[in-house]
């Protein structure tokens, strides 16, 4: 049912009216919501949030300017207790599995072989076709989001990069 005043309007003008109606409605929606939030004191503490953002931006600028003290040189640094450490930890202790004396920095690769776990041990046990291309699927857990650490070829062991299961998101 068309209102008498709108009888003579062209198609374009009617469309324009509808658009303006919608636009105004949306604007008033936002205004009304914000008005309520402000009046009822439900606002987030914007000042604090802005302050944190400002400090963060300053920090990033400052760090960029002074040049990164990245992890490249920290292996030769003296720590706050006045100690220096070699890149590969050389503290010696006995392996709890076999009893041999192992250097700390090489404990994990030793233990892997010692316990019969790990990639090489598993490959020996089960030959699967997916191993052919050097791909490695990990365990039974679904990998959604995994960042790894470690350097290829560290500690004198041969080591290839593992790849990750595809995630759905």
């Amino acid at each position: 049912m068309v209102h008498p005043a709108e009888d003579n309007l062209s198609h374009t003008q009617l469309s324009s009216n509808v658009f303006e109606d919608l636009l105004e409605s949306i604007i008033v929606d936002v205004a009304s919501e914000c008005h309520r939030i402000a009046r009822l004191g439900l606002e987030r503490n914007l000042e604090e949030e802005e302050e944190e953002l400002r400090l963060s931006a300053l920090a990033r600028a400052g760090v960029a300017d002074s040049g990164n003290s990245s992890e490249a040189n920290n292996k030769y640094v003296v720590d706050i207790f006045g100690q220096t450490h070699p890149p590969v930890a050389n503290e010696l202790f006995d392996c709890m599995n076999c009893g041999r004396s192992v250097a700390a920095g090489r404990f994990a690769p030793h233990l892997e072989k010692c316990m019969g776990k790990g990639r090489k041990a598993r490959l020996k046990a089960t030959r699967s076709s997916t191993a052919a291309q050097g791909r490695q699927t990990r365990g039974s857990s679904a990998n959604m989001n995994r960042l790894s650490n470690g350097v290829p070829g560290a500690a004198g062991d041969e080591f290839t990069n593992g790849t990750f299961e595809e995630s759905s998101r």
Binding site: R44, E52, L53, L55, S56, M96, A104, E112, P152
Partner: protein
Amino acid sequence: MSTPNWLYANPKPCSHLSDYKLRHGLSGYTKLNTCLRASPSGRLSVRIEQEEVMRCGFGLESSGCGERRRLLMCLVCGSLMCSNHSVLHVQAQSGHGVTVDVERSELYCSLCCDQVYDPEFDRVLMCKHVGVKPRNGARNGGVETGKMRFCKRRRLGLDLGLSRSEKQLGFVKDLRAKSCFPFGLRGLNNLGNTCFMNSVLQALLHAPPLRNYFLGDRHNREKCRKISLEKLCLPCDVDAIFTAVYSGDRTPYSPAQFLYSWWQHSSNLATYEQQDAHEFFISMLDLIHEKETKESCDLSKDSGECTCVAHGAFSGLLRSDVTCATCGFTSTTYDPCVDISLDLDTVRRTSTNKSAKSNEGGSTSTLSGCLDLFTKPEKLGSDQKLYCQSCDGMRESLKQMSIRRLPAVLCLHIKRFEHSHIRKMSRKVDRHVQFPFSLDMSPYLSSSIVRNRFGNRIYAFEGDEAEVSTEYDVFAVVNHSGMLESGHYVTYLRLRSQWYKCDDAWVTEVDERVVRASQCYLVYYVQRAFHHAASEDLGCLPMSPHRDTFQPIAGCC
């Protein structure tokens, strides 16, 4: 039902509204209620007759002014007017100044020309949402009726021992511990690609509930050895690490026994290979939980809350609301969580940002942006239709997450993993994520989210409990640098307002700016009350006078 006064600022009614209330009470509100209809999105609007388009009836007898936009309905006589004519209306009929915006169901005072608020109006409207139907009926919208269940007061502060124990006091007397540096600061040797483990251990060593638990001797290794049926006990190994790290000895510690123990428990992760710190964190909490619940004859399963130290510290409750896009019926489920994994939010367009504070160097996301994204209503695709009870069919729906109960220690995990279907490969997203040192989690609580969904009406929503603390302070940040397949983890720890970088065996002091500029992967926050208590425990030692990084301090004390 009383409104939670601490939550809402009490809006003073204008004189016109007060007069109206004196004269008419709630009669106008309840009459209005009969004309209200809820849209699927939850918004209440006035509908007079199903078919007719509403227009301003002011003026001409037969058709009125005809305006369709921003219509107001007088709460005294019920006439429908546009905002211009509402002014004339109240001039013609005094006392008819209080109107309601028909589209939004908000009170509008024509004389003040402003939106006004009345808790009783909101309450009457909320009855429309909640309805007189039984709780499981349609239109519930996830708003609980009846008595509010108050969260059982957390026994955390009492049980996990904020009081000093014998063990702790002993350290102060130990001469080796008499140093300028805080307790519990000690490097961890990398045993071969184990920085993923070291970084998480450093964070957990300084999580107040865990620290208090283990230093308070709540897991006694001797007792455990006697009563335990199995030889393996991960909590015992964790206890050993705590003892070693808090002993006052500053030479780097090798968590070898722990690694051995962990590998025996979780064989699928037992490889000398790159590993993910977050995965390790989850695995560790699981294993602690398993052992603790096995041994204890704890029958405190009353509310289903696990009281093991791992869950007591990290466990929270997430709420998931799925709303039918057709009818608005909402079904709610709750799931426990020990952390929150966040997708990266969309980047702020800094190039068009005219503000002087705009970030020059590259794109940045924010943690609050990620949390907003986490709690944003998400339209599930048309291929993901779900069954709606009310419609009795498969319908498109909207899903929204929120936090029903916050944990004492909050671990936020940034999902820096990006997968490309086209190229069939994955990569790490190196984008900087700004994170605050103080975080207020209240906008992400279920009570806030649900309240927002119902238009922020003045009403006591489920979960509005005064004793809930939503303020958090950061104490540890786990950082990943490098590529997806090969990188390095370090942890930044905040102890007594000083930041330390824990890079395996190397512990150095850093300025807070370095931490702010770092690329966070796991951010650990603790409830403010805990943070203050924790600072006190270490407060008996003087701070290091040297604040420069890399300054050698030979033979400290």
